[in-house]
Structure formats: C-alpha cells, structure tokens
C-alpha cells in the first residue's frame, strides 16, 4: 500500500491538477465543505420552521423533511442531474449537481438534529427569557439556539462525517473526487485492488476521524468554560 501511495499520491490528492481539473481528496473536501456550509443555514431555517407556533409553517417544513428523508441520496443525485439542467435551462457540471443534491439531502437530516436540540431545551429557559419581556425571535437566537446547537454538536458531527463519505457517490456522475481518483489508480495498477481501496479507506478514515476529534475537543473546551458537567 505504501508503494501505491508513494506512486500515486498526486492523483489521489488533487486529481489531474495542474494538468487538468482539480480532483481527488481536494475535490472531496471542497464538495463536503460547500455542502456543509450551504446546508447548515438551510437546516436551521427548516428546524425553526418546524417548531414554529404557526401550524401551516410547521406542517410544510415537516412535509419537506419527510419527503427528502424518504429518498436514497443516489436517487436524489440522479434526479438532480436531470432536473437541474431542465430548470436552469443550461447544462450544469457534475460538481454543481452533487453539491445541490448533497445540500438538499443534508439540510433535511441536519434540520432534524437541530430540531431535537431546540425541543430539548428546558421550557424554563424560554419562560425566563419571555418573562423578562424578550420577544420570540430574540429568545430563539440568543437563548435557545446557542444552547441547542452546542448540545447537538456530537450529532451534527455524525452528519458532517456522513457528508464527507456521501461525496463518494459523485463517482456515478463522474465527479472527479477521491473515490473516482482511487478507481483511476486501480485501473492503472490493476493487480492490487484490495490495497488501492485500502488506501482509499484509510484516507477517508483520517479525514473523518480528524473532523470528529476536532469537534469533540471544541465541545470539551466550551463545556469547561460554561462549567457544565
């Protein structure tokens, strides 16, 4: 496996770059990063809609979440691949399609995580804030969300890690990310598929583990500040 890494590390890391488009691990991280960056605010909006005192808002958001959660991501990717060009009128790259599909998929799941965090905040917190005369939205953004988002950080990390791994599905629409690059390496080496995909697994593991560990360290630090048990 070390020979494979030594021989093919540029391909795995950055794909064809600089002699071609960016790919490999760099592309995976970019897709995952963009996916998370865009799905987090969307998930927040959906979660807030779901706990809204206006019933129709809550019901619409619930319907959206149920529909998206009922679909496999692969199907969503294929579907986006054909629908997005129809809607926008011109062809879109696999990269854009993958990011769109990921954002839709992740915001539904992330919104459920955030909603659970919001609903777990003791009612006394909201009562205390409202009793001071602070309105609904300020209470939400200054009292509920800071606590809720922090409390569900471990759950959100699971979703982030999932997103990183889900980028591998871009392979089916020829997005040049890490799995695609590993497949290219395999097509070059041909005799050692186990080792090639073993390297792939190790790279994914390092990325995901670093992410989880980083978040848990952040979590520990904030807990110490707030003197939480």
């Amino acid at each position: 496996m070390l020979d494979i890494i030594r021989e093919y590390w540029p391909l795995l890391l950055v794909g064809q770059y600089p002699h071609g488009p960016l790919g490999g691990l760099a592309m995976t991280l970019i897709v995952a990063g963009l996916g998370l960056l865009l799905s987090l605010p969307l998930a927040l909006m959906i979660a807030i809609a779901r706990v809204s005192p206006y019933r129709w808002v809550a019901r619409c958001a619930a319907a959206l979440v149920h529909v998206v959660r009922g679909m496999p991501l692969l199907m969503l990717i294929f579907w986006a691949y054909f629908v997005v060009p129809k809607v926008t009128g011109h062809a879109v790259s696999g990269f854009t399609t993958l990011v769109c599909a990921l954002v839709i998929y992740e915001s539904a799941y992330l919104s459920e995580v955030i909603r659970s965090g919001i609903e777990a905040i003791p009612r006394g917190q909201i009562e205390a804030s409202r009793s001071l005369g602070v309105g609904y939205w300020r209470t939400m953004f200054k009292v509920v969300l800071p606590q809720a988002l922090f409390n569900v950080l471990p759950s959100m990390t699971s979703q982030f890690v999932s997103t990183v791994k889900e980028t591998s599905l871009g392979y089916v629409i020829s997005v040049n990310e890490l799995t695609f690059a590993a497949n290219q390496v395999n097509n070059l080496v041909l005799t050692k598929p186990l080792q090639v995909f073993g390297v792939l697994a190790i790279i994914y593991f390092i990325v995901c583990f670093t992410l989880s560990r980083g978040v848990s360290l952040l979590d520990a630090r904030v807990r110490r500040t707030r003197a939480m048990r």
Binding site: Q125, S131, L132, G133, T225, A227
Partner: protein, 244 residues
C-alpha cells in the same frame, strides 16, 4: 397595582382556579401559601400570562393583561418574575445574564448596562462572581443572580414562584435576605412560598389557597394566630411545627 377579578382556569376538565379575586396595592408584599396542588403557582403565572386564563380579568397597573393587541413583551418587561428553578442562562456569565434584558429590550449602551448590572449584583451580594457561569454557582447564588436579573429592567412589581423551594436549607436564608431588603425598599411583591417566617416578618398580607380557591386573606398577625377557615387551621398545624 395588580387586580384579579373572577379568574377561572381549567386544565382540560380540571378546574384549577375558581373565581379568584385578589387585589394587590402598590408597595404591598403579599404571600400566597397553601397545600401543594392548590393552584398558587398557576395563579401567579397567570399574572404575566405564562399561563392563559379562560374566564375573568387580570390588570396590572390598569392594563388588562389579556387585552387584544397588547404588546405582551412590554407588559412583561414591567413585571419581574423569579422561578423556583432559577432558569439562569447557562451559556452566559452572571454579568451577561443580568445585562441580557436591558441590552436586548431597552437597547441600553453596553457600559451603562454593565454598570447597572454591577450595582444590582452588589446589592444581592455577588460582586465577586461577575464572570462566573451559572454552572459554577451554588443554588442560593444562582437564585440571587436570578433576582438581580429580574430587577434589571427596574420593574414596579416582582413575582416570586417558590423562590426557595429548590434550595438547601442553608441557602434559603441568603435569598430571603435579598427579598426582605427588596420589601423594605417598597417593592410590590407577590410571593408564593412555604417560608412562614418570611411571611410573618415581611408580608403585609397572607393569602391562603386550597383547591383553586382563596380561602383566607388576612394580615400575618391574624392569619398565624387565629386562622378562620378549618382548612387553613389544618395547614398551619401541619406546617408550623417543622418551621418553628
């Protein structure tokens, strides 16, 4: 100051408040006591609309609390509420907790809010804990911060819902001290409490409730020496030996 007229509330089929009439004048300190389940906490929570009522009228400073089109936040900013479980914001320091309302409602500039908060925390004896977080504090300290937080907007009336019931006996005293000094300064206070010593010492009136009704309302001297209603008599005989 506060007027409750024929207040009725149901939790489903359960009639928890029955034709409650209560009048609290400015500067009065009223203690509401009674057995558990009597509706005293529910009653105090209807005053700032934490609980809705089905029938009756509640006015605070002449303003009908359940009036249509009323800005509930403005009303609540004029009523300080102290909870049994303190309900401090754990993600903010003590100072930030107390500054929270002035900064977010009155848009007070930060240095003014900070100076005011420091004065309030000095008053409750916690100047040395400004940057601590609620998780670092004992129950008594947390409740004192909660009182400071409720006082931050300088409300004319303070409501206390069993402020010492969740505290260790040793910490009850420090919280009652703060409440006594507030009463001495002329604050209008309604306290739901089991602290009969506090009631005897500080209150202008004791209101006894059972099963959603006010059974007795009298000066502490009269109430503790000669309660008229048999239920009140039973309550006092049960509660007083343990309080001494």
């Amino acid at each position: 100051m506060i007027q409750l007229e024929q207040v009725n509330k149901w939790f489903g089929e359960n009639h928890v408040l029955k034709n409650v009439d209560l009048r609290i004048a400015a500067g009065e300190v009223v203690v509401v006591c009674g057995p558990s389940g009597s509706g005293k906490s529910t009653l105090i929570r209807t005053i700032n609309r934490l609980e809705p009522i089905e029938k009756g009228r509640i006015t605070v400073n002449g303003q009908d609390v359940y009036a249509k089109g009323l800005n509930i936040n403005t009303l609540r900013a004029g009523i300080g509420f102290v909870f049994q479980s303190f309900n401090l914001f754990p993600h903010m320091s003590v100072l930030d907790n107390v500054m929270f309302a002035p900064l977010n409602i009155r848009k007070t500039p930060r240095d003014t809010a900070m100076a005011d908060a420091k004065v309030l925390l000095e008053r409750v004896g916690l100047s040395h804990k400004l940057d601590a977080y609620p998780g670092n504090l004992s129950g008594g300290q947390q409740q004192r911060v909660a009182i400071a937080r409720a006082l931050a907007l300088k409300p004319p009336v303070m409501l206390f819902d069993e402020p010492t019931s969740a505290l260790d006996p040793e910490m009850v005293g420090e919280v009652l001290q703060v409440m006594k000094s507030l009463a001495k300064d002329g604050m209008t206070m309604v306290c739901v409490t089991h602290e009969m010593g506090f009631a005897r010492e500080v209150s202008d009136r004791v209101v006894f409730m059972d099963a959603g009704e006010i059974l007795e309302s009298d000066t502490p001297a009269n109430f503790f020496s000669a309660p008229k209603h048999p239920r009140a008599q039973r309550f006092l005989s049960d509660i007083l030996p343990s309080h001494g």
